[in-house]
């Protein structure tokens, strides 16, 4: 499952990529560390992306901005927010901006992994292709 990750912390990014690719069917096709890069990638190369994992606190800009930009795009990837401080307020805002799920980096990592696995399995495959 083609996945794009928006995260500015290199340590977390590495760890996340290796964990997801180890435990799930996720295939990380691109990363971005700030809002602008993420949005422009999505516009130009995000056609067949199936999952996008977004961190709120980025180097410049904000994950919320990415979400908002995405909400104006007729794109198909599932939008997942992975953040450091997933308070009810933030969850509410993210939902308002079109996020499908919100996960807390400290509490919900297991849930994230489970969700990614489930998503990868339930994605419709290209005709003729095997998973």
């Amino acid at each position: 499952m083609k996945t794009f990750i928006v995260e500015d912390n290199a340590v977390i990014l590495d760890s996340l990529i290796s964990t997801l690719q180890d435990l799930t069917e996720v295939e990380v096709v691109g990363t971005a560390a700030d809002e602008k890069t993420a949005v422009s990638w999505m516009r130009h190369a995000g056609g067949d992306c199936e999952l996008i994992i977004i961190d709120i606190y980025l180097r410049t800009g904000s994950g919320l901005g990415v979400l908002e930009a995405l909400s104006h795009m007729p794109s198909g990837p599932k939008r997942v927010v992975l953040t450091n401080y997933a308070t009810p307020e933030i969850q509410r805002r993210c939902s308002e901006l079109g996020a499908d799920r919100v996960f807390d980096k400290s509490r919900d990592l297991d849930s994230l992994i489970t969700y990614c696995s489930w998503l990868a399995e339930s994605q419709p495959r290209t005709p003729g292709g095997l998973s």
Partner: protein, 455 residues
């Protein structure tokens, strides 16, 4: 007193004895003039008295003469008696006259010896003739000699001489008096000039003094204004400095928060991910699973601690979600910790980032105080626009405190005030025993371009 020539001259101590001397001199002149005038006037009056007495004496002598003449002609006892009584009265009269003249002319400038001798001679002659005339009444048949001394030219000329002598005496006395009178005029003129001069000097002195006073007042006023200006400047400088310090502190905190968040946070999250992978390793022995679980527990505690520290340093929600949301979260946190309701009434307001952070800190500090001291059962936090200002209020129904007693050095109140004022705001505090506390801060609304509407 200004340091001008005038000021210095006045200040000079020499003035004191000079003034004393002048005053003494004026008084002496005054006194001397008075005494002189008194003496002169007394003598003037004396002269008039002397004239009267001289006339009286002359009159008596004339009477004596006529009595003597009468007696000589008629030989009547009545005339003799009259003569005798006049003669008795004469010494007293001329004695009085000479006495008065002596007063008028104490220096004896005018000689009265001639007049005296003339009077005595005349009196003696008269007495002799009268005695002779008395003897003539006894029967002795001696023919009476012509009382030459009583009638005729010699008598008349003697009398004339006497009168002239009197007049001369009185004239001399008058001349003496005149010189005295002239000197009296001089003295009075001197006195008059002295008094005028004294008055003028006093007025001048007063004018100078009042001028100096006014100058002194002006100087004081200028100095006061200067001082007030300096105080104002200092206060503004201090306020600016306080502002800088606060900003530096907040920046530092933000910096540390960021490092914790990025570096430490990253590591801890990576560890959590490793844990997740570790848990999924197949055929993990039970003991290992237990250890992993325990390890994860500790890791979670570490993450929670990191979070708490970061939030206290720099509320992340403030930057990302705005003031109202950040305040909501803060109040919810405190309500959870204290177990009492923290009601909020937050309206979106337009402020710049620094003022937003200040508002957040004021609420944070006030809520800390509530949890530490107030023992309240509910708290109300309000954020609202009021005219050109933004007002934030934190009100509790706790036990309050005596503002006068506690002073602004405690409970972080001074820090709050300095902070608020450094952002051009105003802090007001109301509290009383058992009546709760209300902390209210007002800030100017931000201009359009430098604010964002916080929701």
């Amino acid at each position: 007193m200004p340091d001008t020539l005038l000021g210095r001259t006045i200040r000079n101590r020499v003035w004191l004895p000079v003034l004393a001397l002048l005053a003494l001199g004026a008084m002496v002149v005054n006194e001397v003039t008075y005494q002189h005038s008194l003496a002169t006037l007394t003598r003037g009056i004396g002269l008039t008295d002397a004239r009267l007495q001289a006339a009286h004496t002359l009159q008596l002598m004339t009477d004596a003469e006529s009595s003597a003449r009468q007696f000589a002609m008629t030989g009547e006892t009545r005339d003799l008696e009259a003569f005798k009584s006049i003669m008795a009265a004469l010494p007293k009269a001329h004695g009085a006259m000479f006495g008065t003249l002596g007063d008028v002319d104490p220096q004896g400038l005018v000689s009265s010896a001639e007049v005296r001798s003339l009077i005595e001679a005349r009196m003696a002659a008269l007495s002799v003739r009268v005695a002779q005339a008395g003897q003539a009444t006894t029967p002795s048949a001696t023919p009476l000699p012509t009382p030459a001394l009583l009638i005729g030219e010699s008598s008349r000329s003697q009398h004339q001489a006497l009168r002239q002598a009197f007049d001369q005496l009185l004239q001399h006395a008058a001349v003496v008096q005149q010189t005295a009178r002239v000197s009296l005029y001089d003295a009075m003129m001197l006195n008059r000039v002295a008094v005028h001069a004294l008055v003028l000097m006093s007025v001048l002195g007063l004018l100078m003094w009042s001028h100096q006073l006014r100058r002194g007042d002006q100087e004081k006023e200028t100095a006061r204004k200067l001082l007030a200006g300096q105080v104002h400047e200092r206060t503004a400088e201090l306020r600016e400095l306080a502002g800088h310090l606060e900003n530096a502190r907040e920046d530092e905190r933000g910096h540390v928060a960021r490092e914790l968040h990025d570096d430490l946070g990253g590591l801890l999250t990576a560890m959590k991910l490793e844990m997740a992978r570790l848990r999924r390793v197949p055929a993990l022995p039970a003991a290992a699973t237990e250890r992993v679980a325990s390890l994860e527990h500790r890791l979670n505690a570490g993450i929670a601690l990191k979070r708490q520290i970061i939030e206290n340093l720099r509320p992340s929600s403030l930057d990302q979600l705005g003031l109202c949301v950040a305040l909501e979260m803060l109040c919810a946190d405190v309500a959870g910790n204290l177990g009492i309701p923290v009601h909020t009434r937050l309206q979106p307001v337009r402020m710049n980032k620094d003022s937003e952070l200040t508002v957040y800190r004021v609420v944070q500090e006030s809520l800390t105080n509530v949890s530490k001291y107030a023992r309240a059962t509910q708290v109300q936090v309000t954020l609202e626009p009021v005219g050109d200002l933004v007002r934030v209020t934190v009100k509790d129904n706790g036990k309050g405190f005596d503002i006068q007693r506690v002073g602004t050095g405690h409970h972080g109140l001074l820090g709050m005030r300095v902070r608020v004022e450094a952002h051009a705001g105003k802090l007001s505090l109301r509290s009383a025993d058992n009546e709760g506390t209300s902390v209210c801060a007002e800030f100017p609304r931000a201009a359009e371009h430098e604010a964002r509407l916080s929701v």
